[in-house]
């Protein structure tokens, strides 16, 4: 499994970015990452209707995940992602800090 993750915006305007190759993680970390992706239903979850942009200081994400024959790339504001993605996004944010 290969993951590209990017977060921009927010009050701080911090740019977080990570490219993760699950094959290079230790077995426990790899298993945890795969569970996060599955729990989020990343490849199948329907996206909520995109609300018109409003307000300020919101996060923007770009997430691409490729696992075998499955691949999905999603980019948008935090409201454009389904609620089920939130733990995965947080998991990737923390991984991106370390990369």
């Amino acid at each position: 499994m290969k993951i590209y993750f990017e977060r921009t915006g927010g009050l701080m305007g911090q740019h977080l970015r990570a490219e993760i190759d699950a094959d290079r993680l230790d077995p426990a970390a790899r298993r945890e990452l795969e569970e996060q992706v599955e729990t989020a239903q990343f490849f199948t979850a329907a996206l909520p209707p995109a609300p018109p942009p409003s307000g300020a200081d919101r996060f923007h994400y770009r997430v691409e995940i490729e696992a075998g024959s499955r691949r999905r790339a999603i980019a948008g504001g935090e409201n454009d992602f389904p609620e089920s993605f939130r733990p995965l996004l947080r998991y990737l944010e923390v991984l991106a800090r370390r990369s």
């Binding site: 701080m12 305007g13 942009p53 409003s54 307000g55 300020a56 947080r90 944010e93 923390v94």
Partner: protein, 379 residues
């Protein structure tokens, strides 16, 4: 939410003052303005009813502070469960009480110094939600209310970078100021207009904190987000208006990317064109202006920036426009060639922008308080 072009109108108490003390011509204009204002308020109430959930009351026009603090319970639903309403005692939840007190301090700056009655200048309730999501290291304005995360509460202590986002009063002031901008200049949230949008929020956020601490421009630290970082971070805050680019330099967070001068302007597609990066330039211009004027920054420099935001800034205004318009506002408020106007010119010059003294003002926004005051010859 799109800004209504007539969102800034003459408050009733001001009409009464003009009718009582003005010349016959001023009284006639004030009464005419009041009639228009009443129509606009009716339109605004209709808009509010359309745009807000049915549970929201119609905002009162009287200057009455009405705060509501909700908890999202670490979920995403907004506004969440009400935990403290106006006048209720402290909850002993630091985030909820900081949101409540910070909203009050911000309201007081706008009302007591600039005579602005809440976010929309019509007594709009100030709603805040704390405990948003899990591990949410951010705060934002969603077009109707302020929202605060708890930072890195979900991580082990030695990995935490962020405390709760209500911990910094200027962050609360920053988010509420986005609401004020939405109802006034409504600067587009992209590129230079977006960086100005961010800068106005930093300016008024910092002024709320300075006023609460009773600090003059020389004594203030001009840091945005002091206290937000945990001890694990090498940094004093998320931005420095005094020295943009120096707020943090950390192995995990990286280095503060803000420029302080146009020669270092960052062209980037990220962050809506770098709205949180290039805001360092107008931030520093405000700092230089305020320090040169001296005294309490909210009294003169803040008034110049507020009048500009309310009266003349447009959705697509860029840094040069902001320089020209603040320069003109300083002339309107303190006189042409005044020390205050010279300070504005020097402030912008310090960031690489030369003000252009354009005598003909742009179309004055109908109904804006300062504009109407000027129209009536009361300033």
């Amino acid at each position: 939410m799109e800004r209504h072009p007539l969102a800034c109108i003459l408050p009733p108490h001001m009409v009464e003052q003009i009718v009582a003390n003005g010349t016959p011509e001023q009284r006639a204009k004030a009464i005419q303005t009041a009639q228009v204002s009443a129509e606009l308020r009716a339109q605004r109430r209709e808009m509010a009813e359309v745009e807000r959930p049915p549970s929201f009351e119609v905002p009162a026009a009287a200057p009455v502070l009405q705060r509501r603090v909700y908890s999202a319970g670490n979920r995403s639903g907004l506004p969440g469960q009400l935990v403290r309403g106006e006048g209720a005692p402290p909850t002993n939840d630091p985030a909820a009480d900081e949101a409540y007190d910070g909203a009050g301090a911000t309201y007081n700056l706008y009302w007591e110094v600039y005579q602005r009655n809440s976010i929309n200048d019509a007594g709009m309730p100030i709603d805040s939600t704390v405990h948003y999501q899990v591990g949410y290291d951010n705060a934002f304005w969603n077009g109707m209310q302020m929202v605060y995360g708890d930072g890195d509460e979900d991580l082990p202590a030695d990995q935490r970078l962020f405390n709760r986002f209500t911990i910094s009063l200027d962050i609360i002031g920053h988010e509420l100021a986005h609401g004020v901008t939405q109802y006034t200049g409504n600067l587009a949230y992209v590129s230079q207009p977006g960086a100005l949008n961010e800068s106005f929020s930093d300016v008024f956020g910092s002024l709320v904190r300075q006023r609460t601490l009773h600090q003059d421009a020389a004594a203030a630290d001009w840091i945005i987000g002091a206290g937000l970082f945990t001890a694990n971070v090498r940094g004093v805050g998320i931005r420095s208006m005094k020295e943009p680019g120096t707020a943090y330099n950390d192995p995990v967070l990286g280095k503060d990317p803000q420029p302080a001068h146009m020669r270092d302007y960052v062209n980037t597609p990220q962050d809506n064109g770098g709205v949180h990066i290039n805001s360092g330039i107008p931030n520093h211009a405000f700092y230089l202006t305020a320090v040169e004027i001296g005294g309490f920054a909210w009294e003169k420099a803040g008034r110049i920036w507020y009048a500009t935001l309310c009266n003349t800034i447009r959705a697509n205004s860029n840094f040069q426009d902001a320089a020209n318009l603040t320069y003109r506002a300083a002339s309107d408020l303190f006189g042409k060639g005044s020390l205050e106007q010279q300070a504005v010119a020097h402030g912008w010059n310090g960031v690489g922008i030369t003000v252009e003294d354009v005598d003909t003002p742009p179309d004055t926004r109908p109904g804006c308080l300062a504009g109407v005051m000027k129209l009536l010859g009361l300033r």
